[in-house]
Each structure stands twice: as structure tokens, then as C-alpha cells.
Point group: C2
Chain length 323, copies 2
């Protein structure tokens, strides 16, 4: 199943189901008004949602208007982002002479969750001098996860998989990181691709708590990278168990993988500018690629079997205040 949220009734929109080819949709009217409700009541609504999905598979549905779509969860009660691709951290440490992070646990911070941007709207940011960067990553959305859930039991709480652009402001990030308090200013609202996909619909691409798909990232129309999701050092089940060690996770919690990064970065490129700048610094002593300017456009999706299961993030950064 592929779930999406149509702008209708702010701020949480209307839950719809989308056909496998992304062309048609049926609203989940009478089953679940919003995706948040569906996640809270998943066991009670899943069978009805799957019946609706069967009608889509049989050819029913209206033509999907992609410009109507919001982020699948336009706001969420909790967003916990990991950093599970070790190559990314290693490159950043090597390039900038940072000490290795001393921990034997998954890395994770709590981020802003009261607003997630759609994959197509303009992204208003205050200042180019902040070092505007994207981060392409996968995420999962859980149902309610009780405190103390172990990794072995965690995967059954993964209800949906999503594709995220975790906007990052690189001039601020290291300053905030040095305090030990994590990021506030360096991490404004994320963007999310339009379709939230059930793990079963990903087939073999969902295995070991990882998404075995590459990204396809372009910046202003030029190839930027196609790193692959399989190289997570820990899987989403480990990230969920880590998050739930001392708290219940509310239904609708979003857990992120951190920016996707591969050991073979010389071939596959990167999913964020900062990492490319680190590679350039290691090779040439200084970065060559600039951060984003207002008007620049980034496109991120995860191609699979000729399709795009999560849909596409394709948006500009602009100067200004958000609505």
C-alpha cells in the first residue's frame, strides 16, 4: 500500500491511498480521516485500507493531482533522526580534523516535528550564509512502541517507510554540535516525499531493517549522487529500540536513517553537499562545491524497477519566512 495526504482540512489533510504506479487515488473516507489516526488505530483500520488498495489495483480511483499532496504526516509528535551510515561520519571527521565520536550506541537526535514540508513546495530559509544543504535519507513511521521494546521486537512496529530531505544549515551545525546539546537552528523543517509505503510493498527492497534501494539526487538538474540504502551500520529496528529505551514512542513517531552515504563514494557520489565538500577537502585541501543559493533546486527520489515508490522530492530554496 502507498499512503499519502491530500491538502483538505488543515493542518493534517485527508488520508488517501495511491495506486502502485502513482497515477490514481482513492480517499480513505470512513476508514481513517488522517494518517495520524490510521497509525493510532492501525490494527483496526489496516484490513479496510487493504480492501481499498485492492480496488485501486483493480483500476478504480480518480486521477491523482500531485500538487495537492502534503507530506504524508504534515506534522508529527516525534521525529528522531539517526546517523547510521558510518562513511558519512568518517568523511566529515577526516576532512575537518574532528575527533571520532566516542560511543558504542546508535547516534540520534530529536528534531523539529511540528511541520514537515511537502516534496514540491518552496523551502523558505532566512540566510544563504547559513550554508544551506540537503540530506537525502530514508525514514520509518511507527505505531505505538512501548518503552523497553528490544530490537528483535521492533520491526513489527514499522508501519510505513518514507523518503526525507533533512534540510541542514552547515554554518550553524558544528557550532551547535560542540555544545553537546544537538541541533536546533541547524535543523529547520524537513521535507518528505509524497508516498508513505508499507514495508510489504517494497518487496525485497525491505530487508534486515534497511531499505535496499539507491537514491537518485540531482542539484539544479546535474547528477549529484546515487548512494544506496543498504550500508546502514545498524538497522531501523536498532534505532527504534535505542529510541524506546527510556520512553514510549507515540504512534506516528518518525525515525530517520541519517544522510545516506556509501564507502564507494568516489563512484556513487553523495546525498548532501557537505559530504561532497569533505571529499573535495580531503583530495584537494579545500571544498569546491558551494552550498545552495536561493533559487537552487534539489531533486531526490529512490528509483525501483522503473518506478519511484516514494514519489519525488523536487523543490527550490527561497528567501523568506514560512507561511
Amino acid at each position: 500500500m502507498r499512503l499519502a495526504t491530500r491538502a483538505k482540512g488543515p493542518p493534517d489533510g485527508q488520508l488517501i491511498l495511491v495506486s502502485a504506479d502513482g497515477s490514481r487515488a482513492l480517499p480513505a473516507t470512513g476508514i481513517a480521516a488522517t494518517l495520524q489516526y490510521a497509525l493510532e488505530e492501525w490494527d483496526g483500520v489496516e484490513a479496510d485500507l487493504r480492501r481499498l488498495d485492492a480496488r485501486l489495483a483493480a483500476g478504480e480511483g480518480e486521477v491523482l493531482n500531485a500538487t495537492d499532496l502534503l507530506a504524508p504526516l504534515p506534522r508529527a509528535w516525534q521525529w528522531l533522526d539517526g546517523s547510521a551510515f558510518p562513511t558519512h561520519g568518517e568523511l566529515m571527521q577526516q576532512a575537518f580534523g574532528l575527533p571520532a565520536i566516542e560511543t558504542d550506541r546508535p547516534l540520534m537526535y530529536q528534531g523539529m516535528s511540528h511541520r514537515f514540508l511537502s516534496g514540491h513546495e518552496d523551502v523558505p530559509l532566512p540566510d544563504e550564509a547559513d550554508g544551506i544543504d540537503f540530506e537525502g535519507e530514508f525514514g520509518v513511521i511507527t505505531d505505538f512502541v512501548p518503552m523497553g521494546t528490544c530490537a528483535a521486537d521492533a520491526l513489527k512496529h514499522v508501519r510505513l517507510v518514507i523518503l526525507i530531505n533533512d534540510w541542514s544549515l552547515r554554518a550553524i551545525a558544528p557550532v551547535e554540535m560542540k555544545t553537546g546539546f544537538g541541533w536546533v537552528q541547524a535543523k529547520p523543517a524537513c521535507s518528505v516525499a509524497p508516498f508513505a509505503v508499507t514495508p510489504d510493498a517494497l518487496g525485497d527492497a525491505w530487508a534486515d531493517g534497511r531499505i535496499h534501494l539507491p537514491l537518485a539526487v540531482t542539484l539544479n538538474g546535474a547528477w549529484f549522487g546515487h548512494p544506496h540504502g543498504r550500508e546502514m551500520e545498524v538497522g531501523f529496528h536498532d534505532l527504534i529500540a535505542h529510541a524506546a529505551r527510556t520512553r514510549d514512542l507515540v504512534a506516528g513517531t518518525i525515525i530517520g536513517s541519517g544522510t545516506i552515504s556509501n564507502a564507494d563514494h568516489a563512484t556513487v557520489g553523495s546525498a548532501c553537499i557537505s559530504e561532497r565538500r569533505a571529499i573535495e577537502t580531503i583530495a584537494q585541501g579545500k571544498p569546491a562545491t558551494a552550498f545552495m543559493r536561493f533559487g537552487d533546486r534539489v531533486r531526490i527520489h529512490a528509483p525501483a524497477n522503473g518506478g519511484s515508490p516514494f514519489g519525488v522530492i523536487d523543490q527550490r530554496v527561497v528567501s523568506g519566512r514560512s507561511a
Copy 2:
């Protein structure tokens, strides 16, 4: 005005107004069903709420049953906690040989906000070995704050002042802090005293974006500290402006002061065990005070003119899972 939330209709409860002496209440029926709604529509509902408050002042209202009260916001879209009392950081660094935090900005992290405990319910935590500690602090709740709001304009967005116990797990906190990612496991759900107070109702105790009141903290019935809120290095207006630098703040954002701590700690004591242990370590080479055990009870309030404007946090930690 003093606002509170009565358990009625989960999870956000019912908004009530409470008399100045805390003895009587009137529900805000027909004005705002929940505190979150009131914060989103403050300009539209404030006059009606003040008319209701005048009826309370005239003697109307039912007897308040304190055991019915939830946290004023039982859940919030955003909780950003500062660390604005410099004595606390200095003591911790001196006792544990930590480097000083290199920053010229307010310290702030984003914490768990999908659940705030009431001031009287048991606090379920998984393990005494995690180093269970309280942190008494003040907080403010804002209405919508546009991105880029400066400190000079920020105070008008403070709609309510609250008293918080920011539960902290001290065996985990330094491990997470070293990663630079902030705290996830070390910061489970906070507790909040029952009454959220409008700044005007605090009189002279609300000045310079600070709360000029002491806490009164007891642990298992014994005096623990009475540090004063006036020693914030930056005020709540500075914390709000810091938080809003690259994001809008959603209505109902909670901003915390960080644990209250005074230069004269030898006389006034502390608002958390960890700081007392730091003082003991500096004086005697090792800590003498233990962290909390299951069954231990902490009581925190802010006495003012013989009353207690925020009501009282008085609760036990217990072994187990949250509901």
C-alpha cells in the same frame, strides 16, 4: 489567570480556569475546549477567558479536585529546553573535569514533547542504575512565533508561565552529550505543575523575561534547595529568539530555562541531585548524595506571598513501563 487541564476526553483533557487561591475552578466550555486550542486562538479567546476569570474572582466556581489535573499541556508539538543558569554548568564542569562549552549562544536542545506527566502521578522509569534525577525549572508557553522574531519582540509571545520537573538520567546524559547529538535516552517525559499562569498574574515576579521566584525543593521530605529564578544569564525572550532563528515556533511551544542554579549554592542548595553531587565532589573529592531509588519522592513548587502560583509537583519514581 491560571489555566489548567482536567482529565476529560483523552489525551488533551478539558481546559479549566482556576481561582487565585487554587481552590475553585470553572471550565472554559464554549470558549476553548483545550489549552492547545486556546494558544492557537489566543487573541480570539483571551477576552472571554478573562471574563470567566472575573467570575472566579467574584466567588463562582466548583471546588477544584487536584487529582483530576493533567499537565497543562498533556502533549505539545515542541519542547525546547535551555540551560540558562551559568552556575549549573560551571559546577558540573569543575566537578567532572569537563571542558567549558565553547559557544556565545544560548544552550538549547529539543526534547520529547508527546507526553508531559502531571505533577502528582507516579513516574515510571526502567532502571535505577540510569541515575534518576529531577531538575526543577521554569518554562514559558508561546503562541505562534514567526521565524526571525527578535528578542525585543519575543516577550509578547509568552502567553503562560509553568513549572517543570525535567526528569534526567545521569548515567546516560554524559554519554549522549559527548556525541554532540543531544539527549534522547537521558531525557524521558517531563512533569509539569498543574497551573499555567499568565505573566500579568505573576506581578513583579515576571520581569526582564525571568521569573523572580524561588523554588522550594524537598527530597523524601527533607529540604534540598531553594534556588531563585532571577539568575538566568539570558531571559526567555533571548531563548525564544534563539529558537525562532530558522523556524516558526508552533503555537503551544514550550521553552524551558534549564535547571535553576544560583551562585550562592552553599546557602540555597540545588534543584537537582547531580549539581549537589558536583558540589560534594568539589569539596570532598566524591559525591555523597545518591540518585533517586524507586519509591523516592520529590516535591517542587515556587512559593510566592504565602501561596503557590503554579501548584505543586509531588511525585514518586517507580519501576515499570508508562501507561
